[in-house]
Amino acid sequence: MPLLRVSNIESYYGPVLAIKGVSLEIDEGAIITILGANGAGKTTILRTISGVLDPEKGTIEFMGQKINGLAPNRIVSLGISHVPEGREVFDDLTVRENLMMGAYLRNDRIGIREDLETMYGYFPILRQRTSQLAANMSGGEQQMLTIARALMSRPKLLLLDEPSLGLSPLLMQEIFQIIRRINTEQKTTILLVEQNARMALSLAHYGYVLETGRIVMADTCKALRENEDIKEFYLGVKEDSIRGARRWKRKKKWR
């Protein structure tokens, strides 16, 4: 049984049908990525899974239990944690308070303390800034904080929305390494939505390609990396034309 099974979900933003029937499965312990251009519906999928949006149609099952329709806090307590796009930290709280907010639904003091230590282990910079206001941190530090905060609920499934957005290449590398470590060491299953396709495909095991609200490709990341369409449209690998410069794009085929 997969850890998460999404079947035929359709979600609207107002009158706009943002995802038009998406089905996907995530096995326990895997890193899955969803690739797609701006507006393809990637974030909508994550928001629908975490309960921020209710799907118009379709079902979402987590560990065999139907979770669509549940309140987001119930979904968190079942073990799904969402790292939203855009480093949404609580500006007026300190780093430590931010992290404690992630453990809000827990009451095992010892466990929480242990996890706090683990987070400081993954992100040493957070230990140095522990009593600093989150608002006064750099973008990269804030991103680390949101990931750590999400992990503080000890999720089985972590939903990561564009963790590399706006980060320097070096910082991006660092964040991706930590994500990989969390996956191997904590056995946390990860659903990663990412613009940086190269990074995402090197990190994840399996990937889905989303175009205008529909999945057009699904395969192992190894196979996706070799795919002609992925190369041209997501990895920016282009065979140069005879003129040495090619601007036009061939038609996408997704096969």
Binding site: S23, I242, W248
Partner: protein, 610 residues
């Protein structure tokens, strides 16, 4: 055999070539609108005068760069006004105009360019230019490549490449230096010279270049006047490839006779919206479009209110009754007619408006066989839908349904001036003024195709008692099962395609014990079905493998099986699991699955069904 009506050109003797007719019209219709193109959301009008001016500039420029009479010039572009400027310009310079499908690969383009020894090659844009540059080393005859749209090529320069604007300027300059040149030039072509070279996609072997003289398109003017009279008030949407004889006849040649307005669709994808914007009075499409309209409408209906559904069903059942009378060439009873008129006004008109066909005086299906059921359905909708039968080699249309005499299951009687007879083995033979000159550089194939003035079509059929032609199938497509039964696959395929869930199908079974089918599903409709019935799927391929989808198609196949003889039933089928587009070799530019290609490509799958 019926007496063949003699037909002659409707024009005075001095108008005996396409350029002569064209400039006659330019002078006559100067300020009238010839075509419209949508740009930045607005439909811009182009007058005949402008059309003529551009064509003149193209002709003069090509002449000044060394085009000789009879030289071939190629155009590789999507449909746009420039396509027509070039087409008319090339012919005015005494050249032969040949279109190449923009979806063709550079290898396919290379074959055609070198086969016809093209001197000048018009390309749409950067993408088509790249294909041309890739192959030009192997094309010693090619003098210039002209780019219609220079976007992204500002910094590019190459001695062999020039922009369309530069070409027009050069034409202008030539005119200034030698103002008399054009008058002699446009009279250069002779009626029997080749005007158009149309490459037919060979299902086996390389494409063949069919030569069409100036004479035959002029004749169609007289034919059209009798069979489908048009006027300058008529509107047509141009969206099928102009390289194909059908769209070429409708959008490039037809207006020369009747002056109707050509509207260029923005792209194939926007055709449904463009139809609604233009609301054409004549609409020509291939069966695939008619099938799509039908299935879209049927699915929309499922979402409408119960009352709307009932009203539509009632209107259609009355419509079917009316068409049954018409089918037997009888006038329906007055009461039924009155009821139908009422329902047409109240119910069907809205439906037709939704399709953009509310002003359509006539709709034509051609270039592939259409299911008689579908044809009947359109008539029940009170749309005057006719089928035309013909091929490139017969210069376009050969037979066509006439107004008020549409006999479903036939393709109508021969057009005026065209003679049709059935050979002993059932092959359809055609004689008449529209028949082509032969294949370029292929006397052998030409001699095989035209024998004693008769065109051997390769189609098999019969004439019914009313003189309407019934097409059975392509001669070489007829399946002979291992049991020795002759089966015509296209009949079964057409019935399958009538299902809203099936886009196309290829029936297989030659030399086999039973019939099987390769089926291409309608992705939109099947996805909708999957969503409505909570069938999880990810990609197109996974959709074709979902057990529920297989069950759905099985039911559709079963429904067809019930209507055919036992030997004609489909025992097994396979859903093609890749989404094929017109860029693929398996599909013709008009959207049909190519039987030979499909048979070859899916050989393993086919073998596994036996």
């Amino acid at each position: 055999m019926a007496v063949v009506e003699q037909i002659s050109s409707p024009y005075p003797d001095h108008i005996d070539t396409i350029p002569k007719l064209f400039w006659h019209r330019v002078e006559q219709w100067g300020n009238q609108v010839a075509m419209r193109e949508k740009e930045y959301g607005l439909w811009n009008e182009i007058t005949w005068e402008h059309y003529g001016q551009r064509a003149k500039q193209v002709a003069l420029a090509l002449d000044s760069m060394g085009l000789a009479a009879g030289d071939v010039v190629t155009i590789m572009s999507e449909n746009n006004p420039e396509w027509l400027y070039c087409d008319m310009g090339i012919q005015a310079a005494g050249g032969v105009s040949a279109g190449i499908y923009p979806t063709d690969s550079f290898q396919q383009a290379a074959y055609i360019l070198s086969h016809c020894e093209s001197k000048f090659h018009f390309v749409e844009d950067e993408e088509q230019l790249d294909k041309a540059l890739e192959i030009r080393d192997g094309l010693p005859d090619l003098l210039k490549i002209i780019v219609l749209d220079m976007e992204g090529l500002r910094d590019f320069s190459d001695a062999m490449v020039m922009s369309f604007d530069a070409l027009l300027e050069q034409g202008e300059e030539t005119d200034r230096q030698n103002p008399d040149r054009f008058e002699t030039l446009r009279r250069r072509a002779q009626p029997d010279d080749t005007a158009l070279l149309i490459y037919t996609s060979g299902t086996t072997g390389p494409p063949k270049g069919a030569m069409i003289s100036h004479r035959s398109p002029l004749m169609t003017g007289a034919i059209n006047r009798q069979v489908w009279p048009m006027s300058s008030a008529d509107e047509v949407l141009c969206f099928l490839p102009l390289c194909h004889i059908a769209e070429r006849s409708v959008s490039a040649l037809g207006p020369l006779h009747d002056g109707y307005v050509i509207n260029f669709a923005e792209s194939l994808e926007t055709v449904p919206e463009n139809i609604r914007e233009i609301s054409p009075t004549l609409f020509f499409a291939v069966p695939r479009f008619w099938e799509k309209f039908y299935s879209t409408l049927m699915l929309t209906l499922k979402e409408s209110t119960r009352f709307e559904q009932l009203a539509f069903r009632w209107a259609m059942s009355v419509g079917h009754k009316v068409s049954d009378y018409k089918l037997n060439f009888q006038k329906p009873p007055a009461l039924l007619r009155a009821l139908f008129t009422l329902l047409d006004w109240t119910v069907l008109r809205n439906v037709k408006k939704g399709l953009g066909l509310d002003r359509a005086r006539m709709c034509i299906s051609g270039a592939a066989p259409i299911s008689p059921d579908l044809l009947k359905w359109y008539h029940a909708l009170n749309i005057d839908m006719r089928e035309v039968y013909g091929q490139t080699e017969s210069g376009g249309g050969t037979t066509m349904h006439r107004k008020g005499a549409v006999k479903f299951g036939t393709v109508g009687p021969p057009l005026p001036g065209m003679e049709v007879k059935i050979a002993d083995d059932g092959e359809i033979l055609i004689k008449g003024p529209l028949v082509f000159k032969g294949y370029l550089k292929d006397p052998e194939k030409t001699a095989e195709t035209i024998r004693d003035d008769w065109l051997y079509t390769g189609d098999v059929g019969r004439m019914d008692e009313d003189g309407h032609l019934v097409i059975t199938d392509r001669k070489k497509d007829i399946i002979i099962t291992s049991g020795g039964k002759n089966i015509t696959p296209s009949e079964i395929e057409n019935q399958l395609k009538f299902s809203p869930y099936i886009t196309d199908a290829v029936v297989v079974g030659d030399g086999r014990k039973y019939l099987t089918a390769l089926i291409m599903i309608d992705d939109e409709n099947i996805m909708k079905y999957a969503q409505d019935n909570r069938i999880p799927f990810t990609t197109y391929a996974s959709l074709t493998k979902a057990p529920e989808v297989l069950a759905l198609i099985e039911k559709e196949v079963e429904d067809v099986n019930k209507t055919v003889a036992r030997v004609e039933t489909i025992k097994k089928f396979h859903l093609i699991d890749i989404l094929l587009t017109t860029d693929d070799e398996e599909i013709t530019p008009t959207g049909k699955l190519k039987r030979t290609f499909v048979n070859k490509k899916f050989k393993d799958v086919i073998d596994s069904m036996y």
